[in-house]
Symmetry: C2
Amino acid sequence: MKNQTTKKPTKEKIFDVSLDLFSKKGFDAVSVREIAREVGIRESSIYNHYKNKEAILDAIIDFFMSELASGSLPEEEMEKLLETPELFFEVGARAFIKRMSAPKNEKIWRIISIELYHNDKIRDFYQTVLLEEPLKAWEEIFKKMIEKKMIKPVDPKILAYEYFYFAVYLIFEYFILKYEEDENFMNVAWKRLSNHAEFILDAVKID
Amino acid sequence: MKNQTTKKPTKEKIFDVSLDLFSKKGFDAVSVREIAREVGIRESSIYNHYKNKEAILDAIIDFFMSELASGSLPEEEMEKLLETPELFFEVGARAFIKRMSAPKNEKIWRIISIELYHNDKIRDFYQTVLLEEPLKAWEEIFKKMIEKKMIKPVDPKILAYEYFYFAVYLIFEYFILKYEEDENFMNVAWKRLSNHAEFILDAVKID
DNA sequence: GTCTATACTTCGATAGAC
DNA sequence: GTCTATCGAAGTATAGAC
């Protein structure tokens, strides 16, 4: 595992080591010395690759943003939704899992969750891309489902909240409350998302 | 407002100033010097009142814990619930507001939310007292409501989840995402809790 | 691109006079 | 109980030799 003596460029090693340490201890609690030690170089050498410590975090965030920018629901998936409401759990859960499962992403989710409270760039990204945009997308989907009389005529905005906020809660629970404690989060999350979707579906389906 | 020249004991001043600064910037970002400056004494004098910086945080947490220890649902409230399900929003929301509204509590909620990820004592408290115990209480309530055929026979545990986790999400949203941004959170929270409770109620009520 | 060496800053905490 | 004075540790970052 500690096979970092490979020919991986130093800049990439710094990125990966920082990603690992930041996700475990938080940005402030990690020193440049510690990163350097783990990479196997002196701390001054870090500055040959990144302007300063903050720049490493920025690089990590930028990587994550570009990864997730392409993460919105594809059109075909949305079309499937409008055939039968029973599918919406599958589609929602797939979107959820997709956002989490990339190997580096899980660590970045943890960093995001930790730094949320004092990093403006991260907080803005979270609010708009991770909350508002998906929420608006789900609202549109439910609006169409109501128009097609597939579900009861509830307020689509409220329904979007009711459906979507649970995923936000799960992320909070996992990355803040249970990190490094819960081994197979994905299985548990899947089961709970499934229960949740079923509950919502029962609430709005037309008998 | 800056009327701290009153005869308030120094130890209390240190407590209040720390509470204020920790809630704004997080524990690590506040220095003992800063606290001392704000109180109006030298930093060495701090140590006449608290063993070290950590001890100030401990005092704050202990204060909060004892405040909330008496915060569980009183019996009369629970009895009211079992008369008519329409009341359960009122009861739940009252319990929620009660936990938040004490003047010092709001700042402590912020500190709790920030330090959750690297303070074991805080995390354990959050998990047991703030999550598991209320969840279990709601599960019992719903179980009784089902026995009395007041609501549909859904899984009471899942229903408790569905009902209660919205409050947890609201706290996360307010204290992490919107702190110092949203002025009248209580009004918005009340409205959204109301929407949520209505949604849940519609989902499980017997037609 | 990495090294040694070092400058500079800030931090938590203590000793001892008053 | 507050002050002055100070310590040691740890942090970020830079200069210059190799």
